[in-house]
Every structure is written in structure tokens, then in C-alpha cells.
């Protein structure tokens, strides 16, 4: 992918929080909705389950009632059949015992026949009995398998001791006795094979309410209960409990009583709440169902009584679903909710990713394009996809492109200035590596840009400069503030062909990205040198050409004055003096012009030496005394007797002092004194020359050290002088690292001060070498030269 390389650089993408938020929101929402649904579903399920349980229970109870009612009807029907009356009648009407016995036997047979046919028509009918008032069985039919047979007289038993016989005997006509449902017991023991038996009995009476005995029907409820249990499907459970607390719904035919008891305990321990409720037995409210629920199950309990007047026999029917089973259904739903949630989260993450990518991708493209741009690609690389988008991203991309275009235009125009500049310009690093050059640099040195960039600047230097350059670049002073390093200096440029070109080099420094660079702007001095040389030669030649006639004039006048002067009249002699003085002045002017020209060309050379300033001043004063006396001015020199040793150019300093003295003489009134003094101030000596002339006008103070400066232009003629003296003096004193100044007030005279360094007393420096400040200066001079 195009934008892959910028991906690794950021620590976290913009898309990350979006993704996290989107996925988090989707997860939270779907989990909330899912679990709310599950909880709601639980409640709905429980309600539905309760309805189902109730419905089943109602049906079961109705079936049970039907069986009970059918049985009751059969009992009543049997008690009212004609053989009952026939038996009674046979006993009463037949005095003959044998006949009576036969007749009774016939009736009994007929009754038995009715019992048998009833038994054959009802598969659940287990036994039908006629028990006499003495409690003994008179007739009994038994179901044996699929057939019903009449018990022989020998098999008939005495049932007088049975509770149901005792309870039924003596009851009124139509009274039906129900004896609940229980295991079939023989002598109190559960009879095998195990069956649930429901027993219903009633008294049988004759026409005139003469009692005959009890009609008893035993119904096998096993099949009925099994059928009921069959209608209740797992996980629902169905329980039927009789008034003795016997659980009728666990009819495992081969299970021992202990096993049944153990299972009962397990059930009770599993559903203690339900067991406790059931143990409480009858609670009133017939044929109603009650809902029972806790965390482990939901159940409906129904109560049924056989006889409203007899509370001792009843049944509790229970339909129950363990909560675990209900929730098991929901686990499937939870799994679905979880899957659905995960799916939603996945979709959410994808959508969030697509959305952020929509934002991030153009940014990545832009980043890569910007990087390419910084590596030198054109601004067209910023024409990334998405610039026509109507949104903020589109605006950003367009703005960046516009900005870069404008910058490129500016850069082009800046580069054009550099490229087309006449002066060679180059840029180097602090290590001296050339970073950039312009066309003029290529032309000057003869190297191509590629040959120079990346190389050390020393390739363009001569041996001497090369030695000093690297250490120069490492000077800490280069790191200081300010942009211009110096006013520039003259160096030799070494070209590709080995030739050297004198150039003026001005260096400025700049910081780019905290790194120090130097920019050198060069000026080819070849032409300038030629012109300079021509000018020097011109000045020299002109001076010579002027001096030659001057030599003749001055020589002629001098000879005339010394040889024939006496012969001339005073006026003629005065004219001769004027002519001679002006010759002298012209000589001085020519010398001054030459000096000035040299100073400007920086070619005035100095010959430094140690000497005593006091003796020197005395000498100079003596030299100028004659001239002063001509003007009627006298010198007064004040100084300490001790010598003051200075390191200076004696001739040049004499030139300066003479200039200052002659100025003082020139501007002093006749008969005045010019006071000269030298005094020490710390490590310096100060020479003062004080006159008592008119002083220098205030508005001229600034110009006094300028060229051709005189306060009054007429002075040139009246006082003599070139107007260059002080300008030259200042340059000479400057070259000595000294100062020349003045104090003046109109009408009070002028004092000139010349301040110079005193040579160090220990004289430790090598006299062949100039001391500190001069060494520096000479170094510079040498450098330039």
C-alpha cells in the first residue's frame, strides 16, 4: 500500500479510540438488550409453564374424577339390581331351608353374573364383592389377567375385621363410601404385584329398606395413573399423593419398599419446599390449584376429595417443572444472544474501522506526500486522493496543497535571486562541508555544483587558509549572537585549474534546525585590484610629475634666496619668501595625498619599535621650534623626568605630533604659548597639546578629523595646511590602538590629546615581535596582504 510506511510512526492511530468506543457501545447495548430479553423470557417462560402445568393438572384431576364417579355409579347400580331383592325375598319367603337356599343361590348366581359382566366391560375393575352383614364375603369376582372369574365358596373370606367393612356397615341407603387410593394391601402388607387400588363401597338394601350387605368395587388405578403420567411430558413431573402421604407416582413394580423410600427422600431433599408443602396435607379449597414457586422449581398443586362429608380421604395432584430444566431451555437462548452480540460487535468494529479509515487514509496519504516533498519531490505529490471531498478533510488537503504551492513559488523566486546573483554565494556547515552553491560560484571556481556540494570548503582554499580554517570554524565565539561574523576579508580563491583569484569574503551565520551554518558571499576582486593598482600608479605618477617641476621651482627659489637674496629689495624678498613657503606647502600636500591614498588602500605600513616618548617629544618640539618662533609662538614642555617607553612607529608618530604642533602654532595668536605635556594614566600615556587660540567652533567639532577639513575655508589660504593632516593622524593613531581627541571652547583655545599604550614594564615580549594588540593587527594585515 502506498501509505504503509507512515503507519509505524504514530504511537496510536486516530481510529483506535473510535474502534474501542464503537465496539464497546455495541457490546454494552447488545449485552444489555440480550440479558434483558433473557430475563424477560425467563419470566414469560415461567408464566407459560405455570399455565401449562395448571392445564395438565386440571385435566388429570378431571380424568380422576371421571373414574371415581363411574365407579360410584357402578356401585350404586349394583346395589339396586333385582338379585339384591331376590336374595332377600328368597331368605324371607321360603320356609323350606333347602328351597330357600337354592333360590338364594340362584339369585346369587345372577348377581355374580352381573358382577362378571361389569368386570368384563371394565378393564380396570379389579374386584367386585358382596359382603354380608356378618362381614363375610357372599360373592366375589376377581380379575385374573384379562378374564374375570367368580371366586368359589371356599375362597370367600371373612372381611369383618376390615375397616372399610366396619365403616360401611350400617350406613344409610345411597351413602357411598370412598376409601382413597393406595397400594393393594393384604393383612396390612403391600401385595405383590403392586397395584394402586381405589375402593368404593355402599350398603345394599331391599325394597323395604331391609339391608343385605355391602357392595364393594376395587378399581385398579395403576393404568389410569400411568395414563395420566403419560400425558405429562418431561421435563414436567407429575405427582399424586394420597392422604397417607404415599407418593403414588412411583410405581416401580419391582422396587423394594426401601428403594421407594430412598427415592422419596431424594425427591424431598431436592425439592424441600414442595415436600414441606405437600406434607401439610389438605389445605381446603376443593378442586382449586395452587401455584408454588421458588428458585429450583415451579409447581401447581391440586386437591381432590371423594366425599365432601368425609375429609379423611383425599388426593393431592402436583404438576411440577424444575427451574433448571426451564433455564436449560434459556441457555440455548443465551448462547444465541452471545453469538448475536459478538456478531454485532464485529459489525460495529468494521463499520467504525471503515469510517475512521475514511478519515485516516487521506491523512496517511498526505503524510507520505509531505515526506516525499521534503525529499525533493514536486508539489504535485501533494495532489492526493480526496482533495475534492466536500468535508473538512477535503478542505485540509486543498489548504495543504495551496500552502505548499505558494511556498514552492516563493522558494523558486528566492532561488532565482541566489542563482542569478552576480556574487558567488555558498553555504557550509560548521564542519566546513559545502551544502549549497549558486551559479556564480560555479563560474568563479570552475567546479560544477555536484563537484562542490558535500566536499570540504578547504578544496577552494590555498595552503595557508586551509591550515587555519578548521580550527577557526570550531571557535566558540562563532556561537555567539549576531549574524555577521566580520566585515569581510580578502582571501585567495583556488580554482579548479589551480589558478588563484583574489576575492572579498563576507561570512554570515544562520541556524537551520538548530544547526549552525555559514553563508559566504564573495566578490571577485580581480577587476577591483586592477583598478586599485591603476589608481595607485596614477597617484604615484602624478605625485612624481608634480614633484619634478616643484623640485625645480623650490630649488631655484632656495638658491635665489640664499645667493642673491641680499641684493633684492624688501618687497622682492618678501615675494620670494611667499613663493618658497607655498612650494613647501605644495610638497606637504603631495605627501599627504600619497599618505591618504595609502591609508585608504590599507597599504600604510608601520615600523614599530620601543623608544622613550619623553625624549621623543623633546626632539619633535625642538625640530618645530624654529617654525613656531617664526610665528612668534613658544613651546612649553612639561613631563616627568622618567622615560615613558612606548612601542610605536617613530616616524609616523613624529608626523602626528608635528601636525598637532603646527596646528597649535597656526591657530595661536602672536606671543602666545603652546603647552605640551605627557602624563601617565594607568597603563596609558596621554600627550596634551594646548593652544590659546580662538578655539574650534562648535559646529565644526564633528568634521575636524575629516578630509580637507578646515573651519574656515579661507584658512587654507591664510593659515596654510592641506586639511588632510588630522585625518592622517587619526588613522596613524588608530593603527597604534590609541586615541586622538580634543577639547575646545570658542575663544578659550584648544587642547589635543593623544593616548597611547605604555609598553609593558617587564619587557617580556620579544622585541622582534609586536606586543599583543599589534600582533593581532599584524596578523590581520598579513592575512589581507
Amino acid at each position: 500500500m502506498v501509505y504503509s510506511n507512515s503507519r509505524k510512526e504514530y504511537r496510536r492511530s486516530i481510529s483506535t479510540p473510535f474502534l474501542i468506543i464503537a465496539v464497546g457501545l455495541v457490546l454494552a447495548t447488545s449485552i444489555l438488550v440480550g440479558f434483558w430479553q433473557i430475563w424477560k423470557n425467563d419470566e414469560t417462560n415461567i408464566a407459560h409453564e405455570d399455565e401449562r402445568l395448571n392445564f395438565v393438572l386440571q385435566r388429570v384431576m378431571k380424568d380422576l374424577s371421571t373414574v371415581v364417579e363411574d365407579t360410584a355409579r357402578n356401585v350404586v347400580m349394583l346395589a339396586g339390581t333385582p338379585p339384591i331383592q331376590g336374595i332377600l325375598t328368597a331368605r324371607r319367603n321360603n320356609s323350606v331351608a333347602e328351597i330357600a337356599r337354592i333360590e338364594e343361590a340362584i339369585w346369587k348366581d345372577r348377581l355374580a353374573q352381573i358382577f362378571l359382566s361389569l368386570g368384563e366391560s371394565n378393564r380396570n375393575l379389579l374386584q367386585v364383592r358382596l359382603i354380608g352383614l356378618d362381614g363375610k364375603e357372599a360373592i366375589r369376582v376377581n380379575r385374573i389377567g384379562e378374564t374375570v372369574v367368580r371366586a368359589s365358596p371356599k375362597e370367600l373370606q371373612d372381611k369383618s375385621q376390615h375397616a372399610y367393612v366396619q365403616q360401611t356397615l350400617g350406613t344409610a341407603r345411597g351413602k357411598i363410601k370412598y376409601f382413597g387410593i393406595d397400594y393393594n394391601r393384604e393383612h396390612g402388607e403391600i401385595e405383590e404385584p403392586r397395584v394402586f387400588v381405589m375402593r368404593v363401597a355402599t350398603m345394599a338394601f331391599g325394597k323395604d329398606d331391609e339391608p343385605l350387605g355391602i357392595i364393594v368395587i376395587n378399581i385398579d388405578m395403576s393404568r389410569v395413573i400411568a395414563k395420566m403420567m403419560g400425558t405429562v411430558r418431561a421435563p414436567k413431573q407429575f405427582l399424586l399423593i394420597n392422604e397417607k402421604g404415599t407418593y403414588l407416582t412411583m410405581p416401580e413394580r419391582n422396587a423394594s419398599a426401601a428403594t421407594i423410600q430412598a427415592r422419596l427422600q431424594v425427591f424431598k431433599s431436592r425439592y424441600p419446599d414442595l415436600a414441606a408443602r405437600l406434607d401439610k396435607g389438605w389445605r381446603g379449597g376443593d378442586n382449586e390449584t395452587v401455584r408454588v414457586r421458588n428458585q429450583s422449581f415451579i409447581a401447581r398443586i391440586g386437591q381432590m376429595r371423594f366425599d365432601w362429608s368425609d375429609p379423611s380421604h383425599y388426593l393431592l395432584a402436583v404438576t411440577m417443572t424444575p427451574m433448571k430444566e426451564l433455564l436449560a431451555q434459556n441457555q440455548e437462548m443465551q448462547r444465541q444472544v452471545f453469538l448475536f452480540t459478538a456478531l454485532l460487535a464485529l459489525i460495529g468494529a468494521n463499520v467504525a474501522y471503515m469510517l475512521t479509515r475514511h478519515v485516516v487514509k487521506p491523512l496517511q496519504l498526505l503524510t507520505d506526500a509531505a515526506r516525499q516533498l521534503s525529499r525533493g519531490a514536486t508539489v504535485d505529490s501533494l495532489k492526493v486522493d480526496g482533495r475534492d471531498r466536500p468535508d473538512e478533510i477535503g478542505v485540509l488537503l486543498r489548504s495543504v496543497y495551496e500552502m505548499a504551492s505558494n511556498l514552492e513559488e516563493k522558494q523558486k523566486s528566492m532561488r532565482a535571486i541566489l542563482t542569478t546573483a552576480q556574487n558567488p554565494i555558498l553555504m557550509i556547515s560548521r564542519r566546513g562541508i559545502i551544502h549549497n552553491v549558486n551559479d556564480a560560484t560555479e563560474q568563479l571556481f570552475g567546479y560544477s555544483r555536484e563537484e562542490m556540494v558535500g566536499q570540504n570548503i578547504s578544496m577552494l582554499m590555498n595552503e595557508h587558509d586551509r591550515k587555519h580554517h578548521d580550527s577557526y570554524l570550531q571557535r566558540p565565539s562563532l556561537l555567539g549572537p549576531g549574524k555577521i561574523l566580520d566585515g569581510g576579508r580578502e582571501v585567495q580563491a583556488v580554482c579548479k585549474d589551480g589558478s588563484t583569484v583574489p576575492i572579498h569574503l563576507a561570512v554570515s551565520k544562520l541556524h537551520i534546525k538548530n544547526e549552525l551554518f555559514f553563508t559566504g558571499i564573495m566578490t571577485d576582486l580581480t577587476e577591483l585590484k586592477k583598478v586599485d593598482k591603476m589608481k595607485s600608479e596614477f597617484v604615484s605618477t602624478v605625485s612624481h610629475e608634480l614633484r619634478t617641476p616643484l623640485t625645480s621651482i623650490k630649488g631655484a627659489l632656495g638658491l635665489l634666496r640664499s645667493t642673491s637674496g641680499e641684493a633684492l629689495p624688501d618687497s622682492g624678498r618678501k615675494m620670494l619668501d611667499i613663493a618658497y613657503a607655498n612650494c613647501e606647502r605644495l610638497s606637504v600636500l603631495i605627501n599627504d595625498i600619497l599618505d591618504m591614498e595609502k591609508i585608504e588602500a590599507g597599504k600604510l605600513t608601520y615600523d614599530f619599535a620601543l623608544f622613550d616618548l619623553v625624549a621623543f617629544l623633546a626632539e619633535v618640539i625642538e625640530t618645530n621650534r624654529a617654525y613656531a618662533e617664526q610665528a612668534g609662538v613658544s613651546f612649553v614642555f612639561q613631563s616627568l623626568p622618567d622615560p615613558i617607553i612606548i612601542f610605536a612607529d617613530r616616524c609616523r608618530l613624529e608626523q602626528v605630533v608635528t601636525n598637532v604642533l603646527s596646528n597649535a602654532v597656526k591657530y595661536s595668536p602672536g606671543g602666545a604659548q603652546v603647552e605640551v605635556s605627557a602624563y601617565v594614566e594607568e597603563s596609558k600615556v596621554r600627550i596634551a597639546v594646548r593652544d590659546h587660540g580662538e578655539g574650534i567652533p562648535e559646529d565644526f567639532h564633528d568634521k575636524i578629523f575629516g578630509k580637507f577639513a578646515q573651519a574656515d575655508s579661507s584658512d587654507t589660504r591664510t593659515r596654510g595646511g592641506t586639511g588632510l593632516g588630522l585625518a592622517i593622524s587619526r588613522e596613524i593613531i588608530k593603527a597604534h590602538s590609541g586615541q586622538i581627541e580634543f577639547e575646545s571652547a570658542a575663544g578659550e583655545g584648544t587642547t589635543f590629546f593623544i593616548t597611547l599604550d605604555i609598553a609593558p614594564e617587564d619587557q617580556s615580549f620579544n622585541r622582534a615581535q609586536p606586543p599583543g594588540f599589534l600582533a593581532e593587527q599584524l596578523e590581520d594585515t598579513r592575512h589581507i596582504a
Binding site: S540, R547, T548, S552, G555, G558, L559, T563
Partner: protein, 138 residues
């Protein structure tokens, strides 16, 4: 003791200056003077005139002073004659150059003609002493 200065050759292209020199050195100074208008003329006449000292202008037509001095110094019988440059081009570095090329001294133009004989004598005496010291040492 050095030999007395008697004979001087003055080489100068400017006629007026030659006249002043003649007056100053000849009439006032009392030296025997041979005036030449350029170096070429001087080289012809020096072997004839046998001067004690040659005063030589620098800028001259036909043959200038520098060239003349070089020729003199390369001519064995003339090489010992001290030469003093008389020039308007007497700046410090120029003076240095003249001395290096063999001149004993330089007198700057414009010169004071009344002081010229004494000046020349001073140079002569100074040169003679140096010369003697040089000989003694050698």
C-alpha cells in the same frame, strides 16, 4: 680616513633640475660635476669621468635609474661607485626597494638645494665609514 668627495655624476632628465643641481653642487658645493640627461648617457660617461659618487634620478627616458644602477652594478669596474637615488618616488617601501637594489641612500625630491651639498657630504661620510668597517671586518 676616507677619500674626499670631489667628483659627482648627476643623472637627471629634467633640464631645470640639472641647472639647479649644477648651481647647488657645483657653484655652492664646489664639487666637480658631470651632468647626464639619462642612464644611457651616464653609462657612456662614467667610465670616462670616474666620479666618486653618482646621483641618479629614477624616472627617465631612454634608460631609467633602476636599469642604470643594475648595469653599473653588473660592470665590475663601475660596481664600487656608490649610487644615491634622487627621486620624487621616495615612499618608504620604494626607498627600501632602492636600497635593496644597491643604492646607498635616497634623497627625496623636492630637495632643498642650499642643503644639498651638506646632505651629499653626510651620505658620503656615512657610506665611507660603513665601507671601511666592512673592509676591516672582512
Amino acid at each position: 680616513m676616507t677619500k674626499a668627495l670631489e667628483r659627482i655624476t648627476y643623472v637627471e632628465d629634467d633640464q631645470d633640475i640639472r641647472a639647479i643641481a649644477e648651481l647647488a653642487l657645483g657653484a655652492l658645493g664646489g664639487y666637480q660635476l658631470d651632468l647626464c640627461e639619462n642612464g644611457k648617457v651616464a653609462l657612456e660617461r662614467v667610465p670616462v669621468f670616474h666620479p666618486d659618487l653618482i646621483l641618479l634620478d629614477v624616472m627617465m627616458p631612454v634608460m631609467d635609474g633602476t636599469e642604470t644602477l643594475r648595469t653599473l652594478k653588473s660592470t665590475p669596474e663601475l660596481a664600487d661607485i656608490p649610487v644615491v637615488f634622487m627621486t620624487a618616488k621616495a615612499q618608504r617601501h620604494e626607498v627600501q626597494g632602492y636600497k635593496e637594489s644597491g643604492a646607498v641612500d635616497v634623497i627625496a625630491k623636492p630637495f632643498d638645494p642650499t642643503d644639498l651639498p651638506a646632505r651629499v657630504m653626510r651620505i658620503w661620510e656615512l657610506h665611507g665609514r660603513d665601507h671601511q668597517i666592512g673592509e676591516t671586518m672582512s
